[in-house]
Symmetry: C2
Subunit: 234 residues, 2 copies
């Protein structure tokens, strides 16, 4: 939608999107030469984009070794989910307290957009569509928007992106089949419109924890991260 102002920024955004969409597997090496050719640019602008992503903790940089898609780990997913629940519960309380009617309307619009966007594609039923992921991101962003803390919003977005990686790489599981995500979003929306912050926060937690359970039960993470390599980043 919005044209990037410089080539470097453009590449940064594209690599970000490609990692989210599962273009490369966790742990995979991001080769500047290959990316430069792909985006019709030189290795330096790719390096710059990767370096910035490394600062955002969205790719891993190992000096003199290169850049890598982050590894997935059970414990990190648990940590992030818990932090998300806590942080967004607070943000949601503030939002419910401070948000006006305009926000309420915009939130309902965002929910409608999400509800009416096809979640899965016939071509690739194992992954959700780009459009749904975008709408999902936007709904959750809108949910806490009037909290009034830009810092909280940034953090929330960052955690959303990180967990998105896990969602992408979780294989469809039995738990996922028995889930009604749309109903969960609807419940949260209703609680917010009813201005019941406590209920909304509880439902949001349930929503996030359910997502985590689905990812964990898919068993894919163990397949990617061998249990042997428990090396800690000191």
């Amino acid at each position: 939608m919005n044209k990037e102002s410089s080539r470097g920024s453009g590449v940064h955004g594209q690599i970000h999107a490609c990692i989210l969409s599962g273009e490369w597997a966790p742990g995979e090496k991001l080769k500047p030469a290959a990316l430069a050719e792909r985006y019709n640019t030189s290795t330096t602008v790719v390096r710059e984009a990767l370096t910035r992503l490394a600062g955002e903790k969205f790719v891993v940089m190992e000096p003199n070794r290169g850049f890598f898609v982050p590894e997935l780990s059970l414990s990190e997913l648990r940590d992030i989910t818990e932090v998300r629940c806590r942080v967004e519960a607070w943000a949601l309380e503030l939002a419910v307290d401070r948000g006006d009617l305009t926000w309420e309307s915009a939130l309902m619009a965002a929910h409608h957009q999400l509800a009416k966007t096809p979640r899965r594609n016939a071509d690739d039923p194992t992954h959700v569509t780009e459009a749904w992921a975008d709408a999902h991101r936007e709904f959750h962003r809108k949910l806490i928007e009037p909290c009034g803390f830009p810092v909280l919003m940034d953090l929330s977005q960052q955690l959303h992106d990180t967990t998105e990686l896990y969602r992408r790489w979780a294989a469809p599981s039995t738990a996922a089949a028995h889930r009604d995500v749309e109903a969960e979003h609807k419940e949260i929306l209703d609680a917010v419109v009813a201005r019941d912050a406590v209920l909304a926060a509880a439902l949001l937690r349930k929503h996030y924890e359910f997502t985590m359970e689905v990812v964990l039960s898919s068993g894919l993470i163990e397949g990617i991260n061998t249990p042997a390599q428990s090396a800690q980043t000191a």
Copy 2:
């Protein structure tokens, strides 16, 4: 202490340290050419370091305009302080619950180090010493270390660094004169050793809010940020 593994990483660390130590004023332009000469390297390396710092939200990047030391703003300081209080209160509860005797001992050591490090220098009484700032950082890091959430630790460090900028640029005020920072640290330490998480969190909040008050009452921020420029970053 630890030698950086590549030139780029080294420059990254040095620029970070220089901004923290108040080398350049908030809003000031960071010129790659000047920095390249200073660190005996080329502009590309500097650009990469600045790009990474931009990803870490520690410098501001404006496409086609360059890099800048972040502006200081009252509202941001208030936001960050509130988020710090909330986040670290939680982390501290976890730490008090999970931390063992080894941690308790290490924390006491970190406090002793902090208490015995000269806070101000005779040469420059308006600013605290590098050594004290480092010890201060380490004490607060150690305080919440056993919380078990690397994500929380990272966030805490990032918020610490951002507020450090404000502390650096706050002129000495009457409020600062009447303050006994060492006593505040000692109280927090005592509460932690007594395993009183609620009291410790309350004292930590008081500690952070006092710092904010001192910065606000110094009046320097208004001097740097003219009230006229209330442009929002959309």
